[in-house]
């Protein structure tokens, strides 16, 4: 063997150095994106999801019923100034909801279709990742992106992070803008919010807890011709209605290329 003791030690040292540098780099490259920052489960045990039938939602009555039901159920204020507006579910034009689906020759009859939009309760929610107080988080049991108003400090990072504009900030006390019921009370027992917190759709977590469907889904079903306009269910259950609809129809969801994994789907 003509390997000298000196050259052997030199090679051994270089290999050790190489391993020391290389392994951590390899680790970083192969790890999942969720490993950065605080832990976000990329998959929850269950995942509530919604399928929206665009055709049935062309009926204005259906859309109005959904939006009104949500506003009443959650004491959502109606603030006329669009800068201060609060919205959990609202409508936008097709061309703005699905900007990557339209092109120069898309007819106005398609681009202007009104689409109901709401929080997508993403599988990999960017709002959760940026929240400095964990006031918003992805619930591991059912995949809801939840909000804790007690903990929100109103920094609005989540609003900057959300690619869907699903979050609204309370620039003022919302109570004076909540339309009272016929007896002059707040329309719902659901807590109103306060100045300085961010809010958004919670997929009616308080109703799901009691085995009820979200208010918008129930409202759509109660309108003639709106039955099944909105379908809600568990995506992890292959026999659920949402799984069946996703299997049988051509569906799209918003800005999938961003990797947020939206859980609101649209039947086109």
């Amino acid at each position: 063997m003509d390997e000298s003791r000196r050259s052997f030690l030199e090679k051994a040292g270089k290999s050790a150095l190489g391993l020391g540098w290389g392994l951590p780099l390899l680790n970083t490259a192969c790890s999942e994106p969720g490993d950065h920052g605080h832990h976000i489960p990329l998959r929850s045990e269950n995942q509530w999801a919604m399928v929206i039938d665009v055709e049935k939602c062309k009926n204005e009555e259906v859309r109005r019923a959904c939006i009104d039901a949500c506003n009443v159920t959650h004491n959502v204020p109606n603030i006329p100034d669009p800068d201060d507006e609060i919205a959990w579910i609202w409508e936008e034009d097709y061309k703005h909801v699905f900007p990557e689906q339209v092109h120069d020759h898309t007819p106005a009859s398609v681009g202007d279709i009104p689409i109901l939009v709401l929080c997508n309760h993403c599988t990999n929610p960017p709002c959760v990742r940026v929240c400095p107080t964990q006031a918003t988080w992805k619930r591991e049991t059912d995949g809801l992106v939840m909000m804790d108003m007690h903990r929100c400090i109103g920094c609005r990072y989540c609003m900057a992070a959300c690619p869907y504009g699903s979050r609204s900030f309370n620039w003022r006390d919302p109570r004076p803008y909540i339309a009272p019921d016929s007896e002059g009370n707040l329309p719902s027992d659901y807590p109103s919010r306060t100045k300085g917190v961010v809010e958004k759709c919670n997929f009616c977590a308080e109703r799901i807890r009691e085995g009820l469907l979200p208010a918008c889904v129930e409202a759509a079903n109660s309108v003639e011709g709106g039955e099944g306009a909105l379908t809600f269910g568990d995506l992890t259950d292959p026999n659920s209605e949402v799984s069946r609809l996703l299997h049988d129809n051509h569906t799209i969801s918003r800005r999938v290329g961003l990797g947020t994994g939206p859980n609101v789907y649209y039947i086109i």
Binding site: D148, S188, D189, P191
Partner: protein
């Protein structure tokens, strides 16, 4: 030369000022007695010992909130083993149905100003 008089005089003034918070309410005829709370008629005990509740109800409400909203746990098991639904407006105010005669009276006395009701909605009929 003696400053005895000045020193004693100064001490008296000092003591009077330092003890001001103690004697002033009495002298002013203020009511410093514990507030009289109205307890529910048809219940004899709260979900935990009264002493515990008096000292810890605020922490318990925070724990309830976290358990319910974050972990989806709806039931609270008390020390005596009984199950309660974790809800301020549902469970607590089901018995303590007069906020002014219970919550507010004690909060005023202890000079705390919780902002629960800025957002939470008091159950109807109270």
């Amino acid at each position: 030369m003696s400053d005895k008089g000045k020193i004693i005089g100064g001490l008296v003034v000092f003591l009077v000022l330092v003890t001001f918070p103690l004697w002033h309410p009495v002298a002013a005829g203020g009511d410093s007695a514990m507030p009289e709370l109205e307890y529910p008629d048809d219940e004899t005990e709260c979900i935990e010992e009264t002493e515990f509740m008096r000292a810890n109800h605020m922490d318990m409400l925070n724990d309830w909130r976290d358990a319910l909203v974050r972990d989806g746990i709806t039931e609270y098991t008390s020390t005596s083993g009984q199950q309660y639904t974790m809800s301020l407006t549902g469970t607590c105010m089901d018995c303590h149905d007069d906020r002014d005669a219970f919550c507010t009276r004690c909060h005023d006395y202890s000079n705390v100003d919780p902002y629960c009701w800025d957002c939470h909605v008091e159950p109807r009929g109270n």
